[in-house]
Amino acid sequence: MWDLRTPSGIFFVILGLILGSQGVFASGARAALTTVNINLYVGVTMIAFGGILLWLAKRAS
């Protein structure tokens, strides 16, 4: 039996990498009402979240 945390973890790490690289390489991209580099912050959060899921899955197996 595989663990749902593994595919979910991989999904959020990849998504985080895509978003994070948008935040780094297109760092000027902003929507109208904010000055926050939201792509970078959410990207990093997603990588961390995905990493935690993968770590939990590894620990359980």
Binding site: L4, P7, I14, I18, A26, R30, L33, I38, N39, V42
Partner: protein, 549 residues
């Protein structure tokens, strides 16, 4: 709103993963029980998140944000009054009978406890309702993407429906539930940043409170009189109508959510599912309601943010997507759109998996072909998944042609649903209740609901039999329809039950309180026991109500 390559990559990645999860789970399906009910195999953390996620459809996200903009923090009543108490009740008191009996579905419980006609009434109306509600949400999603992104209505309806079909067809209920967890994470990570950005921009809670009328930032203070608050509802209507009848009717008897808990791997997990799910549920208002309130405050700040208009009034349903376009650049915009799709799919998959089970076990096996080998029912389950999706697509197109018909259908389903909790309450806790009693109670409750609608008027709705009373809002009308329906069902069930022959007590073992051995929880740590956990949830919910009083 325009999407770039990065946004499309994110959407494609999501599609690949939901289908991939279905593909990985396909080998676990060998019997009809694996496919339709997950055969009691899913761990607690997954069932509890799925329990919350399946209710978190796209219409819920958009609608709750819209209500936040329209009514303010009073919208939290739909969570802290209209969900949490019922989730506690179903976990602590009702799950032992659902999970402990041989019933595979909620209608089947009615068959075991009462009789075939009560089950048939519930199964058929429920099956129709799931099809129409997934059709209607598909219609709403198609329209939204057409308006927002210029996508073709047919393309978005077909694409989203086919993806849901693929993963539910491959892995059955387990696949739907596993994907609901992924979808839940995505919804939270996709919308929480929007809530934070919008609220911070609006000056935090204090900034919003300073810019908006006081009634927008207090949840209970203006509920003494319906004229004092924008919902037009008073405390009794809110607590009895929403908090008791509608909420308990939904969370305790709707197979869509109960199915998730019944898929759990043990009795204890099944009972804990709604209780553990209550923790994330309690905090969802911060993600979906606060952005709506923040939008109203932002509109008063002269920073170029305006609430979209429609027919001379505010178009509240667009608030969420307008916020997204103003706060999310390419990248996060893709995540936000994907999260909307994810919420749509979790809602639709919930409907489809509930439909195929009720169709296969309660309608097909119950009435059409009784004694076939299990492989036949597995085949019927798979086929009904395809038919269910096809009929939902049909319903979505019907909605484009006859919008009024859909409103009427939703109204009628509301009449049928309103009295349900009275039937289950008496069935589970009063051994004297009989099948004839339950059935006539349900009919009487439905009739009382239609009669209340026919005799009262609110915002020009109802009153087709005359006007005895005028409600300040359709919401108040709905709550009172529910109260009358429930009361009629409760009273008629008791009277008819007393007049008809009760069943032998031996037949009711495992189905009724007092004749069922309740699960023992000795030697289990307190946080793994339903009782103490229910107290923690209850106290946390009261505290939230007091903070936003």
């Amino acid at each position: 709103m325009t999407l770039t390559i990065a946004d499309y990559v994110i959407i494609a990645l999501y599609f690949a993963f939901v289908i991939g999860i279905g593909w990985l789970l396909r080998k676990r399906v060998t019997t009809s029980a694996d496919f339709l009910t997950s055969a009691h195999s899913v761990p607690l953390w997954i069932t509890s998140l799925a329990f919350v996620s399946t209710n978190l459809g796209a219409q819920e996200l958009i609608g709750m944000c819209a209500s936040g903009a329209k009514y303010g923090i009073m919208t939290s009543h739909f969570y802290w009054v209209g969900a949490i108490p019922a989730m506690i009740f179903v976990g602590v008191f009702m799950m032992p009978f659902y999970y402990g009996s041989r019933a595979r579905s909620v209608p089947e419980y009615l068959k075991l406890r009462f009789d075939e006609k009560t089950r048939g009434f519930n199964a058929i109306t429920f099956a129709l309702m799931t099809l129409f509600s997934s059709g209607i949400s598909m219609y709403a999603l198609g329209l939204l993407f057409q308006l927002l992104l210029g996508w073709s209505f047919t393309a978005s309806v077909l694409l989203s429906a086919v993806i849901v079909l693929i993963y539910t067809f491959l892995g059955g209920l387990t696949s739907a539930i596993y994907n609901e967890v992924l979808q839940f994470f995505l919804i939270v990570l996709g919308f929480a940043p929007l809530a934070i950005l919008a609220v911070v921009k609006a000056g935090g809670w204090e900034g919003m409170a300073a810019r908006l009328p006081e009634v927008m930032t207090s949840s209970w203070r203006h509920m003494g009189n319906p004229a004092d608050n924008p919902m037009g509802v008073e405390v009794f209507g809110m607590v009895a109508g929403l908090g008791f009848v509608l909420s308990f009717g939904y969370w305790c008897t709707n197979y869509l959510v109960v199915q998730r808990a019944m898929a759990a791997d043990s009795m204890s997990s099944a009972r804990l599912t709604p209780l553990v799910g209550a923790f994330p549920k309690m905090f969802i208002p911060f993600i979906v309601i606060l952005p709506g309130i923040a939008a109203m405050a932002l509109a008063k700040m002269a920073i170029g943010f305006e609430i979209p208009q429609k027919n001379g009034g505010y178009n509240y349903d667009m608030v969420l997507t307008v916020l997204m376009s103003k706060f999310y650049p390419s990248g996060m915009l893709g995540v936000g759109i994907t999260a909307l799709m994810a919420s749509f799919m979790s809602g639709m998959a919930g409907n489809v998996t509930a439909f195929n089970t009720v169709w296969t076990y309660d309608i097909y096996q119950g009435h059409i072909r009784r004694h076939a080998p299990d492989s036949h029912y597995l085949w019927v389950g798979r086929m009904s998944t395809i038919f269910g999706v096809a009929l939902s697509i049909g319903a979505a197109y019907l909605a484009t042609l006859y919008n009024n018909l859909m409103d009427l259908l939703q109204l009628v389903f509301g009449f049928v649903n309103a009295p349900l909790f009275a039937t289950f309450l008496l069935g589970m806790f009063w051994k004297r209740a009989t099948g004839h009693g339950a059935f006539s109670g349900l009919l009487a409750g439905t009739a009382a609901a239609s009669l209340t609608h026919g005799l009262t008027v609110a915002e020009g709705k109802g009153g087709w039999l005359g006007s005895v009373h005028v409600f300040p809002s359709t919401m108040a009308q709905n709550f009172w329809i529910a109260i009358f329906a429930w009361t009629a069902c409760f009273v008629v069930t008791i009277f008819i039950s007393m007049a008809t022959r009760p069943r032998q007590e031996g037949e009711l073992k495992g189905l009724v309180y007092g004749l069922t051995e309740l699960p023992r929880e000795e030697g289990v740590r307190w946080y793994r026991r339903p009782g103490p956990l229910a107290w923690v949830v209850g106290v946390a919910c009261v505290v939230l109500n007091l903070i936003f009083w």
